[in-house]
Amino acid sequence: MTTIAGSLMRSLGAVAQSMVQATPMALRGVSQGLAARAMPSSATWTPQVTSVRHRYHADKLKRGPLMKNYGYEDKLHTKGLMPHMVHGKRLPIPIYRPKNSWSEKRALFGQNDYIDILGDGSLKPTDVAYSVPYWLRGFKGNEYQMLLRKRKFFHNKMGQYQPTKLTELNKRIHKLYVHLNQKTKDYYWHKA
C-alpha cells in the first residue's frame, strides 16, 4: 500500500513538479506562496482555477425593461381636451377640396337679374330663372300652399304615372288643411 501510495504520490509529485517547471505562470489565481509550498511537497494536487467575470449590468440592459402589468392600457389623458384616438389611429376626415369659385355657374351668377330694367322691358327676372323648377318660379308660400300648387301643375301626370304619390299628396294636403284651419290660430304677426 505504502509502496503504491508512495509511487502514486511520487508520480503526482513528478507531474506537479513538471507542471510547475513547464509553466510556472499558467497556474492562475495561485499565489507564489502556495506554488512554493506545492513544489517541496510535490505529492499534493492543486486545482485548475479559472475566474469568470459576470457582466450583470450589461446583461440586464440587454434583456431590456422588465415587462410589468401585461395587457393593461394606461389611459394617460383622463381630463381636458382628449385626442380622438381609436385603436391608436386618428379618426378619418375628408380630404379638403376647395370649390372652384370661377366655374361657369359661379362666375356668371346673377346674370339677367336686371333684365326688366336693362333690357327692353318685355322679359322679367322670373322668365329667365332657369335654375328654378318651372312650377316654383316667382312663387313663395308655406308647405300647404306649395303642395296645392304642385297638385295644380301635376295632378294629370301623377294620376297617370304616380297614383300612390298623388294619393299621399292629397292626404298630406287634407291633413295640413285640418291642422291650419281647425287646430292652429292665425296671428297677425305670424303666418303659417
Partner: protein, 254 residues
C-alpha cells in the same frame, strides 16, 4: 378702328342732367397693346357719380342670392316614416313608458315634427327703385375706385388667351375682368381668348347686375354699352309712372 391721329372726344351735353353735379369724364381705351388711350368720354352724373349707398348694394346682393333659391331639405313626419303601425308593448303592466308607435318624434329614428319640408322658396322682389339705385351705386363705386374701364370696342388683334392676360397684367386690370358690350354677339377673337380663362367673362348690357360687378375686380364697358346703360337707367329714373311701377306688386306667374 378709328383714325388714331384725330382724338376721339365723345362729349355729350346731357339734356336731363342737373347742373349741380358735374358730368364725369373718363379715358377711352382700346384692346390693343400698342395704343394706350384713344379719346375721352363724358359720363352722366346720375348714373356714374351717385353717392354709393352701401345698404342698397347689400340689399341687392342679398336679393340676387335669395330670390332664386330653392331649398330641397326634407324630413319625414311620423306617418311618413316606414313602420310604426303597431303598438310596441301593452299600455299597462310592463312598467315601461306608454307608447303607441316606434316612429313617434320621441323615439330615435322617428319622424320629425317641425322639420324642413320639401321645396322651400325664398322668392321676393325688391322695389324697382331700389334695384335701379343698386345699379347706379355700384357703377359709381366702381368708377370712383378706378375699376371701371371704358373701351372703344371689344375688337382684338389676336385670339390667344396669353394676349389678353398680358394686356390685363400690363394695364393692372384686376385679376378678374368683366367685359360688357351692347350686343350679345361678341367679336370672334375675344370670345376665343376668354373661353378658357374662367375669371375673364363676357356679358351683354341686359345681363349686367350688382353681384357680377362686385365679383369681378374690373369692369370693362364699351362705348355702346355705356350709352345703352345710361339710356336705360335714365329712362326708368325719369319715367312719369315710376311711383306707380314701383308700388305695383310683382305679379306671380300663372
Amino acid at each position: 378702328m378709328l383714325d388714331s391721329s384725330v382724338p376721339l372726344i365723345l362729349d355729350e351735353k346731357f339734356v336731363n342732367a342737373r347742373n349741380v353735379v358735374a358730368a364725369r369724364e373718363a379715358w377711352v381705351e382700346t384692346l390693343d397693346t400698342n395704343t394706350s388711350d384713344v379719346g375721352m368720354i363724358t359720363l352722366h352724373p346720375d348714373v356714374f357719380s351717385v353717392c354709393p349707398r352701401m345698404d342698397i348694394i347689400h340689399e341687392n346682393v342679398v336679393w340676387q342670392r335669395k330670390y332664386k333659391m330653392v331649398s330641397k331639405a326634407h324630413t319625414k313626419t311620423k306617418p311618413e316614416v316606414r313602420g310604426g303601425g303597431r303598438k310596441p308593448w301593452p299600455q299597462k303592466g310592463t312598467g315601461r313608458a306608454r307608447h303607441s308607435s316606434i316612429r313617434s318624434p320621441l323615439w330615435v329614428g322617428g319622424g320629425v315634427t317641425h322639420g324642413p319640408r320639401a321645396f322651400t322658396t325664398q322668392f321676393y322682389m325688391l322695389p324697382l327703385v331700389t334695384r335701379i339705385h343698386g345699379l347706379t351705386s355700384t357703377l359709381s363705386a366702381k368708377f370712383a375706385q378706378d375699376d371701371l374701364k371704358i373701351v372703344e370696342s371689344l375688337q382684338m388683334a389676336s385670339d390667344e388667351p396669353g394676349y389678353i392676360e398680358k394686356l390685363c397684367e400690363n394695364r393692372e386690370w384686376g385679376p378678374s375682368v368683366l367685359f360688357v358690350d351692347d350686343t350679345d354677339l361678341m367679336p370672334r377673337n375675344i370670345t376665343i381668348a376668354t373661353d378658357t380663362i374662367q375669371h375673364m367673362n363676357l356679358m351683354p348690357v341686359y345681363g349686367l347686375n350688382v353681384y357680377s360687378m362686385l365679383k369681378h375686380s374690373t369692369l370693362v364697358l364699351t362705348v355702346g354699352a355705356v350709352r345703352r346703360l345710361e339710356e336705360r337707367i335714365l329712362y326708368h329714373l325719369n319715367r312719369p309712372d315710376l311711383t306707380k311701377a314701383n308700388a305695383t306688386p310683382f305679379k306671380k306667374q300663372n
